[in-house]
Amino acid sequence: MIDAYTIQILVVFGINAIMALGLNLITGVTGQLSLGHAGFMSVGAYTAAIMTLRLHTPYVLNLLAAGVVAGLSGVVLGFPTLRLYGDYLAIATLGFGEIVRVLFLNLEITGGGLGLSAIPSKTNLAVVYACLGITLYVMSKIQKSRVGRALMAIREDEVAAIAMGVNSTSLKVQAFAVGAFFAGISGGLYAHYLTYINPNDFGFMKSIDSLSMVVLGGMGSLPGVLLGAAVLTYAPEKLRFLQNYRMICYGAFLVFMMVFRPNGLLGGTDLRQLVKASFKGLNWGAMAKQGARTREGIGGSKDGIA
């Protein structure tokens, strides 16, 4: 059987993947750079933790509430800031992440800098992978739907999309809300897995981690995001034997990955063919194909965010 260490890595991978899939909808599919995604995860984690500690609500309800509250905060952030474009949006989301962190460090209900501890341990492998499965299903449905194509149109050329009758502001807010919802779910899972949360767990580096997963795997591609999450969850573990050199190697690894595969692991055409072939039979193999075809049809977004 699998030992506890492997299970832990698998659980952390699942949680990371759910969060990265949420961010992928915002950044990979819709093309809006968000640098504050950990803020949503934080909101979700604290919602779940406070509900279970104060109200003793059941686990499933906590998770749902975590997603809903995070999604609502996505709407609240999205409405004013999605008028901004490109890097101004990026800095506004970065600001949001920091504001959430500082706020939770100072509020009483969140336990301040001490964080919240003794959260019941409920998250296990099965729950995480059930959630991951649902997330993948929802994301693939969204990407294949009319809304998904509209989102991709916004990514490729927002002005042209508006000219074709796409209500870009409303759709961007929706994408933000859904992306934030899944970040919230992953936050809830995280809180109930580690049983201890601290505002600094969800700092800027956490946002960067999930963005790296999305970009590393290949933006907009669901198998790509999964692969990115897997590599970036597993690589730091594998690099543990390097001890102090570990993070140095991680930094260098990110640079070299980008230099040699600038469009992400699954972003290159030939590799994509390969993946398509090897994933045939799995139900998301067809999806990858569909996603790839749609992207190429739109104009082969080599540039990602234009």
């Binding site: 600001g95 800027f204 600038p262």
Partner: protein
């Protein structure tokens, strides 16, 4: 009290402005948010710390050598981590920059240890009292030095051929290259200048707060980036103004409001400014063209 805080905020703001200039210039030319810039600032401070405490150098030569060394590092980073990615979208160089940032800060963390280190006494500290206001010599040096560097930068950008080429590149890189400008060289030069300015800020902040630690680049970097956006990213006077405004807001905010909310205050103001003036205080309005 208020005026003393104002001087403190101004000093801090001058340093933020110097860092913000590097962000803004690089962004203006290649559209990259250079996340490693904060760590370049940390590195500049480190060089000065090393030169003054181990080599026992005086602060003035250490300051200049630190600027020189840091701009060399900036050149190497540009060559290794950004240049190969020039044609591959916008997010890949961003991730690469994050990789550089992690690399530099953890490298120094391992080499020097995570603790905070003080600078040796490099400046004879005197206080000038103007009625209510207390100004230290360090503060005077910092503000004077920042103004001098900014004037020098302005001269380079506005009055020299190289500066003209830089402005041309930031206007339109492709057209600039058609006019016979060696764009790669100009980009490298921009990185070198930006890194030197960040190093200057790093040395001054290190001496001012008498503190160096390997992760000091992170929050200074984020704040300087905020300053650059606040002033209008890509605009040089904007970066200066943004830096000073942010420094003042931060100091006055933490002096008169709750200080633990200090960072949140700066970011809230940033978001409000962006909503009212999405292109920053002095940024040129970018029109979306089809």
């Amino acid at each position: 009290m208020f005026l003393t805080q104002l001087v403190h905020g101004l000093t801090l703001g001058a340093c933020y402005a110097l860092i913000a200039l590097g962000y803004s210039m690089v962004y203006g030319i290649i559209g990259l948010i250079n996340f490693a810039h904060g760590d370049i600032y940390m590195l500049g401070s480190f060089f000065a710390l090393y030169l003054t405490s181990v080599v026992k150098m005086k602060i003035a030569p250490a300051f200049l050598i630190a600027m020189g060394l840091t701009s060399l590092v900036g050149l190497v980073i540009e060559r290794v981590a950004y240049k190969p990615l020039r044609r591959s979208g916008r997010l890949s160089p961003l991730i690469s920059a994050i990789g550089v940032s992690i690399f530099l800060s953890t490298l120094l963390n391992m080499y020097m240890g995570p603790q905070t280190r003080g600078f040796p006494d490099v400046i004879t500290e005197l206080q000038v009292k103007l009625g209510e206001i207390v100004i230290t010599t360090t503060q005077l040096y910092i503000v004077a030095m920042s103004i001098a560097l900014m004037l020098l930068l302005r001269h380079i950008v506005m009055r020299t051929r190289v500066g003209q080429a830089m402005r041309a590149c930031s206007w339109d890189r492709e057209v600039a290259s058609l006019m016979g400008i060696n764009v790669d060289q100009i980009i490298a030069l921009t990185f070198a200048i930006g890194s030197a300015l960040a190093a200057a800020a790093g040395v001054m902040m290190g001496v001012y707060f008498n503190a160096w630690w390997p992760l000091m680049g992170f929050s200074a970097g984020i704040k300087a980036f905020t300053a650059a956006v606040l002033g209008g990213i890509g605009s040089i006077p904007g970066a200066m103004l943004g830096g000073v405004v942010l420094g003042l807001v931060e100091i006055l905010g933490s002096a008169y409001l709750q200080s633990s909310y200090r960072d949140a205050i700066s970011f809230t103001i940033l978001i409000i400014v962006l909503l009212v003036r999405p292109s920053g205080l002095l940024g040129r309005k970018i029109e979306q063209k089809v």
